[in-house]
């Protein structure tokens, strides 16, 4: 700043603009040696701008990692210096090229400095260690509501189907029933629960196809559909509950209830938690659109969306685990007791993780 004030003292000889509007002989473009304040300012600050420009050009073409530690430390300092230059220039300079240059230089530096963290590994650690469990805890009421929708569907599906098995055809599509209908004999229903003898390849195929065609997609849909006021999310959860309830009712009616529970829960604890989490994320979006509060809908969607997306990513990871349990665990572990044990252990682990992890860390 010093040079600007000195320049000011030299050129601005205490004449106010009002006074200069008097006798029409003002010699603004005065004698040799005359320098505009804005010109002097530029001469003083330009080297710093050029240094930042060179740093940015290198970082833009070959990445931030190509800068040395010393240069990385200088980057934010130079960035703030250029921002301050921009503020001064806006106040004292009318050189449009200079202003545009400073604005674009500031923006480029801003993009580099605030453009996100570059260490993907520590971002993942932070995500799993704190961000995800915290987001889940913050969404506990949405999760409760989503779980209620799923449970309600399950109860309705179960009660109706137990009363009249014809409801089964309403709730379960032919494709997902796969022959396991009320007309099938008990042995046909029992066999799929204990199928073995499939090789590694089949297990992996089963794992991959279950993961993609069904679980993760339903979960992501439940989340994304929340964008439409949350109604499709509620319906999706409810219908999934109906299907599940109908299946359980069918098996219970044949006295296979406990065995089915083992078959379902070994991966279902993980999978259904994930579906409920996705549903909760969808409900968060729906609520953000319906009740924007003091923000606009778009702002509120952005606020809710980040937290919701964190939960969905967590849920996708859970679907991955569920897929492993479904593809391998269920084929390898054939005793119902062991299946219940695995289900119990996963349930406790997930509960501990979401309730305890990342507490006390900022």
């Amino acid at each position: 700043m010093a040079i600007v004030h000195r320049a000011a003292a030299e050129t601005e000889t205490g004449r106010a603009p009002a006074a200069s509007a008097g006798p029409a002989t003002a010699a603004h473009s005065g004698a040799p040696g005359f320098t505009l304040k804005s010109t002097a300012f530029r001469a003083e600050r330009e080297p710093a701008w050029r240094r930042l420009e060179a740093l940015i050009a290198r970082a833009e073409s070959s990445g931030l990692a190509s800068l040395e530690a010393r240069e990385l430390l200088r980057l934010p300092i130079l960035y703030r210096a250029v921002l301050s230059s921009l503020s001064v220039a806006r106040a004292i300079s009318l050189d449009r090229n200079l202003l545009t240059y400073l604005e674009s230089l500031s923006s480029r530096a801003y993009f580099l400095i605030y453009g996100g963290r570059s260490n993907a590994l520590s971002a993942i650690g932070q995500f799993l260690g704190a961000t995800l469990p915290k987001a889940v805890r913050a969404a506990r009421w949405y999760i409760a509501l989503a779980a209620l929708c799923l449970a309600l569907g399950g109860v309705v599906g179960y009660v109706l189907t137990v009363g009249n098995l014809d409801w089964f055809y309403t709730f379960v599509s032919e494709g997902s029933a796969g022959g396991r209908t009320p007309t099938a004999d008990t042995e046909t229903l029992r066999r799929p629960l204990y199928t073995d003898g499939r090789g590694f390849a089949e297990r992996l195929t089963a794992f991959a196809s279950f993961l993609f065609t069904h679980n993760a997609r339903i979960g992501i849909m439940a989340f994304a559909l929340g964008f439409a006021l949350g109604a499709p999310t509620v319906l999706l959860l409810f219908f999934n509950g109906l299907t599940l309830g109908a299946f359980v009712a069918l098996y219970v009616s044949r006295g296979l209830g406990v065995e089915l529970a083992g078959w379902l829960l070994i991966h279902g604890v993980t999978e259904m938690t994930a579906i409920v989490l996705c549903g909760a994320a969808g409900l968060m979006l729906g609520r953000a659109v319906i009740f924007p509060g003091e923000y606009t809908r778009l702002q509120n969607l952005a606020r809710a969306g980040r937290g919701a997306a964190v939960i969905v990513i967590g849920a996708v990871l859970m679907f991955f685990v569920a897929g492993l349990l479904e593809g391998f665990g269920r084929q390898l572990i054939l005793e119902t007791e062991s299946r219940f044990l695995v289900a119990g252990v996963t349930g406790v682990l997930w509960a501990l993780y979401f309730v305890r992890a990342g507490r006390g860390r900022r």
Binding site: T39, W49, L99, E103, G115, T205
Partner: protein, 320 residues
Amino acid sequence: MSDPARQSTASSAAMQAPRPIGLGSRLARWIETPEGVVLPIQLGQRGERAVAFILDFLIVMAIIFGLYLALLMAVIGGGLGGVNWLAALVMLASFFIRSFYFAFFELRWQGTTPGKRVMGLRVIDRAGGPLTPQAVLARNLMREVEIFLPITVLISGTFGGEVWQTLATIGWLAVFMFMPLFNRDGLRVGDMIAGTWVVAAPKGALMQDLAGGEAIPAGVAGAAGAEMPAAPFYNFTTKQLDAYGIYELQTLEGVLRDRRPNAAEVRAEVALRIRAKIGMDDPDPPDDERFLREFYTAMRARLERRMLFGVRRRDKHDRR
């Protein structure tokens, strides 16, 4: 759109600041940095973004295809038995590659991907804060629903029987796919969820200072020397300098920086008009370049001085 308070600071600061080149266009927006300085940004055009996405998409496809080929070779060569698990593995890999390709690059490359870099685009936070990993993950997770799901559905044709179901599905997918066409900022659903937008990388080179000459090394500013401009030929009166405002000054700057073939003719025309307006006689022979430069310098000195005293005269119609 940032929150209302921010918006109002931004616009009031925008009013104080001179309007830079290109602002006032349909794609111009303001963001406020965490340091409290308002910066103009230019939103990326939808067409450019589409091209960037197609480039990235082709890269993803190439990676998946390459992986598939490599595994196929391994199966044929090593006789690892069955293509069953190969298909499953490729499915698995393609899910992870397409889901995390974008997030990976946007995290590592400060909001850019290879396709965006080619097109000069970048993802930033709409409110001006740092681009968080959550935001990056959120905006890219949404792609699965916005683009990949519709593509799968359209290719496989699994709409679900009835005509109305088909229409409803297409309509629903269209809402997601074409969302960027239905809002001013060109936001896709992922951008709305994540609170981000895609901007064009700013360009702007620093040119010579028309009022001072570029050759003033730091530290000797103000000292008399060979770098100083020669003594001015013209003496302008205050009245003459007050014929114009900032808008005209910056238009004149554009004319003086003009390097196109017909620039000399434009300058002659402009000099003629200014002389007529301020009542200045043509010397013989007329040196338009010099006249315009000196008029520019004198006018800038006058306007900048008045600006320091709080008067920012917008244009010639601004009677201040």
